[in-house]
């Protein structure tokens, strides 16, 4: 890790050609992966990742240089390269006073990954494997992945900020394949947290693995999903991926500050139904998408994005903040030193309301109940989204009729948000990896069960 003296030298070198702002980000981390398939531990991998990125900003231009060489010489070389990419100007001479701080840990770790013997990790993997494999005679294959990584992060910049943070992530992913005749289907569950090995005291490994198997088996017996516009009830937890895609990404200031989002210029306006309030909260203890500070060194915070349908704030990183004349709200994130930071989500969810799932389904007439989603994407400029439903049921006359498979929901976020007409009380969060300009980062999606009065459902059944 860097000393105050090294940081000062690097920042001075980086701003030697008149940068308005210079930043150094350094991380040092380790990761371990263990996978099991066909009844045996198949792969075990370990990695060490060390690197640093220097960013300089002049006006609204930025330069980013990264390197694996984290010796002082290596960092100075990166700083010189970054400075040299700017047009020549007089350095703004100033005495840089760095305030070194270690961030208070909001996600404490009881058993660090290094403290847990590898045999304990393989035991967890075997337990999940057995639970999924034994769930039903139709389970033809199971793949279990144990994933853990930790890193220490330092960020310093020419405002004098010099902060250090530590992060530890643990996740267990189970995929089950069910087969019967010519039919093959899959189910997936992947709970994770910002915790050490004690994560496994908080999660029911057997049940998680059985849930993955259950989805696969149920899909085997499901009919093809019909197509068309219909009312849709979306289940809690990972169902929140709809909000993540359709609303979360278009609220990132990297887009809104350039007018490249459907929600640009709409602060204070109603963009969703009045029953919808949503937050992005990076401070939740031990949550998958949390951190004590963001990857620009700003403490994370609870940002209310939408309150009773009205747009309250965007997700703002430092550079987008410069462009739109507002301060960062702790949303500058990056996968690693190989990426410049930009505005990203942390734990993003729709706040609970008062409705019940029973009433939503009973009063929806004919439609679709999507109980599990598997992911999606969005075009932020048009807010066109798509997401795949992994487990769904047709509803006929207010009653769950039969399971269907292969459904996709599409539409525009700006048109769907006003059509949310029920919000349940059963808020739950679910873990995902969100991929965008600054890489793949852990984020939580979440919501209570909600209902959308009309949405386009795509299925294979041509009716």
């Amino acid at each position: 890790m860097m000393t105050t003296q090294t940081v000062r030298r690097v920042l001075e070198e980086a701003s030697a050609r008149g940068a308005d702002f210079a930043e150094i980000y350094l991380e040092d981390g380790e990761n371990n992966n263990i996978s099991m398939t066909s009844g045996r531990i198949e792969n075990a991998l370990s990695g060490r990742s060390v690197g640093a990125g220097v960013r300089v900003i002049k006006g609204l231009q930025y330069v980013y240089v990264y390197t694996n060489d984290v010796t002082e010489q290596g960092l100075l070389r990166a700083a010189r390269q970054a400075a040299a990419a700017l047009p020549e100007a007089q350095a703004k001479g100033c005495d840089l006073v760095l305030r070194a701080e270690v961030m208070p840990q909001n996600s404490p770790v009881r058993i660090s990954p290094a403290q847990a013997a590898i045999a304990r990790k393989t035991d967890v993997v075997r337990a999940a494997y057995a639970a999924a494999a034994d769930y039903d005679a139709c389970i033809a294959q199971v793949r279990v992945n144990y994933i853990e990584w930790n890193k220490r992060v330092q960020v310093a910049n020419t405002t004098g900020l010099f902060r250090e943070d530590a992060r530890t992530y643990t996740r267990l992913a189970t995929m089950a394949v069910a087969a019967e005749g010519a039919q093959t289907q899959t189910g997936f569950e992947g709970p994770g947290a910002q915790m050490g090995f004690e994560f496994f005291d908080t999660v029911d490994v057997t049940r998680t693995a059985q849930d993955a198997a259950k989805t696969a088996v149920q899909l085997l017996r499901a009919d093809l999903c019909p197509s068309g516009k219909m009312p849709v009830v979306i289940g809690n937890g990972f169902g929140g991926v709809i909000f993540h895609e359709a609303c979360g990404h278009p609220l990132e200031a990297a887009f809104t500050s350039k007018g490249e989002s459907v929600f640009a210029g709409k602060l204070g306006q109603s963009i969703a139904a009045p029953c919808v309030s949503a937050v992005d909260d990076g401070t939740l203890p031990n949550a998958w998408g949390s951190s004590n500070m963001d990857d620009e060194g700003h403490p994370t915070q609870r940002n209310v994005l939408i309150e009773n349908g009205v747009l309250k704030t965007y997700l703002v990183d430092y550079l987008s903040g410069l462009r739109m004349g507002s301060a960062s709200n702790g949303a500058g994130r990056r996968q690693s030193y190989a990426y410049a930071p930009t505005s990203r989500m942390s734990n993003t969810f729709i706040m609970p309301g008062n409705d019940t799932q029973e009433e939503m389904i009973a009063t929806m007439g004919d439609g679709l109940y999507c109980c599990k989603m598997s992911g999606g994407s969005v075009n932020v400029q048009t807010s066109e989204f798509n997401f795949a439903v992994s487990e769904a049921y047709l509803v006929r006359g207010g009653k769950i009729y039969r399971p269907v498979r292969g459904a996709t929901l599409i539409g525009k976020g700006s048109e769907i948000l006003p059509r949310i007409d029920r919000v349940g009380s059963d808020l739950a969060l679910a873990q995902g990896m969100c991929g965008a300009a600054s890489g793949s980062i852990p984020t939580n999606v979440g919501q209570p069960t909600i209902r959308v009065s009309e949405i386009t459902v795509g299925g294979q059944k041509g009716e």
Binding site: D28, S38, R40, I41, A44, L45, S46, G47, R48, V50, G51, G59, L60, Q61, Y62, V63, Y64, V65, Y66, T67, N68, D69, Q81, A85, I118, A119, Q141, R143, V177, A182, T184, Q185, T186, S227, G228, K258, G259, A340, G375, G376, S377, N379, Q381, T382, E384, F385, N386, F387, A388, G406, A407, T408, G411, T456, V457, G458, G459, Q460, K461, G462
Partner: protein, 450 residues
Amino acid sequence: MERDALIQAVKEGAQRRGIADWEIYATAGESFKVNVYKGEVEDYKVNASQGVSLRVLQNGRVGYATTVAMDEDAVTFLLDHAQENASVVETDDPQQIFAGSSSYEKVEGWYPSLAALGADWKIDAARHMEKAAWAVSDRVKSVSASTLQSGSGETRLVNSAGLDLRYEENVLFAYVEAAVADGDVVQTAMAYRCYTDAAQFSAQEIAQEAVERALAKCAAHKIPSGSRKIAMDSEAFCDFLETFCGVFSAENTQKGMSQMAGKEGQAVAAPCVTLMDDPLLEKGLAARPFDDEGVACRTKAVVKDGVLETLLHNLKTAAKQGVTTTGNASKAGLSAPITVSPSNFFVKPGVLGQAELLAQMGEGLLITELEGLHAGANMVSGDFSLAARGFLVEGGRKGAAVEEITVAGNFYQLLRDITAVGADLKFGMPGSGCVGSPTVLISALAISGQ
């Protein structure tokens, strides 16, 4: 520590610990990216990175460890972790450290004209693209990306069986993303090119394509749901095939993750379909002389006239099945384990152009964009349901734009339902392999709309 010194130290460490079988996979590379926004360089990135991955074979089991930190601890880290990891692996798969093929084809992946380009040339090129994009139409609302990206890298494979192979490559990409006004809303589109020769670069060509594509999407129709005849253009079918190309991997068939298991010699696609995997393809963006186990690469048909000729293999999957490896061993990244992936993988083109194919189809839909492939397509079941955009085809001609539709079906069935293959072969961006396709006609897929 320099990379060669680290490799030497790992070699010596392995010997000291009595590890007879080991392999080092090392990469070193540089990359550059510039994006221009409103005439100014907005973002500018350069980097140099390197890393070393160690694979050891102990009691027949493989363990991996990887580091990008070339410090004093690196040697111990690599050896300790690779050994510990090997000790927990349980598979009895036949593993080996490869002593080398009898000969290797010469494959050129290093293009001197690209290596000679300086940062100023790339900044100018990005400026020109942005300017050209704004000039195409007064309906342009924003040019959100005008980007030049270049990269170069070296892969080195050194092992205990005496192999020491190197391969160097470089590449240049350019892309433009533009938004145009469509009444109250906007339509966006992107165009990209990959180059092996700097002289091929034309700012105008990319800019024009991006804006024209966005304009073509305006005033789009919504259409009713139903089953329709489909044409998929080259880019859409490339994305689609890339998503499902894992079904041809023996790693997946052996684990029950692909329905191609045991289908060698049988018809799996329509007779008009031939799928090639050609690592020796001249100027192919996934060209390589040897795979990630050091086996010499070779050209082969995976599907010939609809019949599955071979799956793609590495040494392990081939030994399990009692066949010869196809030279498709691959690491998805420095720290990833060895699996199987295609190289330049493409649908062999036919003779008819896209317009002739549409005339042959008569009525239907031309799909030009597919979204949500990472979530809405399942390789194991073959099921897909994807957001799509495209154009109506009426009276054998491309008609109005279509939006807010999904296209759904099953990949394994779709291969059999291909009725014609066009001549307009194009390759997509390289990922794990580089996939290419011409326009293809499909007898029917379920479309969801209004």
